[in-house]
Symmetry: C2
Subunit: 255 residues, 2 copies
């Protein structure tokens, strides 16, 4: 595989380029980062609460999540990690993980040494901006979840999370239209949305009855995504999936 093709198929590059145009040199450096690939099976922990994070990871394929287990054994999933997502730019500075990261499906990831990240942030301003942008987008996703958990009922929450997942998968080119694979169990949806699996089941039945979606054998199709977004009171723009604004990029070019 030629370097150019490699760059195209590297999920991190694909994602960052979606935000900020990168130079050939930027791409080369990014491509050299992920030398050590690691593989995990479904339902395994990548990093566990209490551990000292070893390095920064990029998810190459599969689905993972950040979560915390409470004392009574219940779980709260905080956010999902899709291909191209960094786990954990946020944590490489932290002494101790305050939550765990686990896989949902089989997962491939690339480990990046902490030092390389620091170097890159200094030497490659465009990459640095792209990482900032990526971090901001993560924060936007967290804020949306807060709104969903705080002020939406069960139907609204389910509609919201399905829209989020489909839009995020679309943004990284993992979906054909409104149909995606949804590897989540109803239990995992419940742990994400602050509900019980039983009630998730009942909500899904409502949404199926109203011909808003079909879901079987891990295949989800949103039949009317606009209606679902409306039910969720949710807006695609809230996720900031698009590129950085031009004035930032102009500023980078001047240097």
């Amino acid at each position: 595989m030629s370097p150019v093709r490699q760059a195209t198929y590297n999920p991190l590059i694909r994602k960052l380029e979606h935000y900020v145009p990168l130079s050939a040199d930027d791409r080369r450096v990014l491509d050299e980062l992920g030398e050590t690939e690691e593989h995990y099976r479904a339902n395994q922990d990548i990093v566990v609460e209490g551990q000292v994070p070893r390095s920064v990871f990029v998810l190459l394929s599969g689905l993972a999540c950040r979560y915390r287990i409470l004392r009574d054994g219940r779980r709260q999933i905080m956010t999902f990690l899709l291909p191209g997502d960094l786990c954990d730019l946020h944590m490489f500075l932290l002494r101790v993980m305050d939550h765990s990261i686990g896989t949902i499906t089989d997962v491939t990831l690339a480990a990046i040494p902490t030092v390389s990240v620091l170097e890159m942030a200094v030497r490659h301003p465009r990459v640095s901006v792209a990482l900032w942008w990526s971090s901001m987008q993560q924060e936007a996703i967290l804020r949306e979840r807060i709104v969903a958990l705080g002020r939406r009922d069960a139907v609204g929450r389910v509609a919201y999370i399905l829209c989020e997942l489909v839009w995020r998968q679309q943004a990284i080119g993992l979906s054909n239209g409104s149909s995606v694979t949804l590897p989540l169990t109803q239990n995992e949806l419940a742990d994400t949305l602050g509900l019980t699996a039983v009630h998730i089941n009942r909500v899904l039945q409502i949404l199926r009855r109203d011909r808003l979606l079909t879901l079987e054998h891990r295949r989800l199709e949103l039949l009317d995504i606009d209606k679902l977004a409306d039910i969720a009171g949710f807006n695609k723009d809230y996720l900031h999936l698009g590129p950085a604004p031009p004035e930032i990029i102009r500023h980078l070019d001047r240097r």
Copy 2:
């Protein structure tokens, strides 16, 4: 007031220095940033959803919050902004605000031109790291809120938010022990925790009855903060209020 004293009393510098030691030069630059001070009264909007953010702000005094109004008029407060907090490093790249920022009390803030932030990030690596750190801490706070809203009952949520506010105020030197001013109405607490004001009222009565806190005339005293943290299933370390780990700082010194 001498430059040195100014630096000491600049909330942003005080906050960033808490994370990463800054050079005299770093401090000087930071101090020059906040030339234009702005004042807002209580219950005013600083930035409104849909606006294009003009610049980055630093909160110098008072209490503000990020919030969104839903279509039905209900409100969700996403997070609080305390002195030293940036509003909005996250947003200076974004085209359009996806939420509003409003004051709770009277507020003073310093506006920083976007360009200065970009320059500073490049020329002053320690400041840059401190800003990263600050951003990560914000994210940690958002994640905690997700856990609270998703998996804690009303008593747990109230206990959690009071701990968060007291610990954050302690971290920036705004509290005498466990006693702080709590300018929030029960309505605002409700909009933060995804509950109703009526129910907040009932929960506060329970906590008062159990001699866990006193709250009158905007004065909050946590009588047993460990017990409250325990009820909330909450841990001070989750907020990452302390300094950055030494290896990062060593790395900065090598350059």
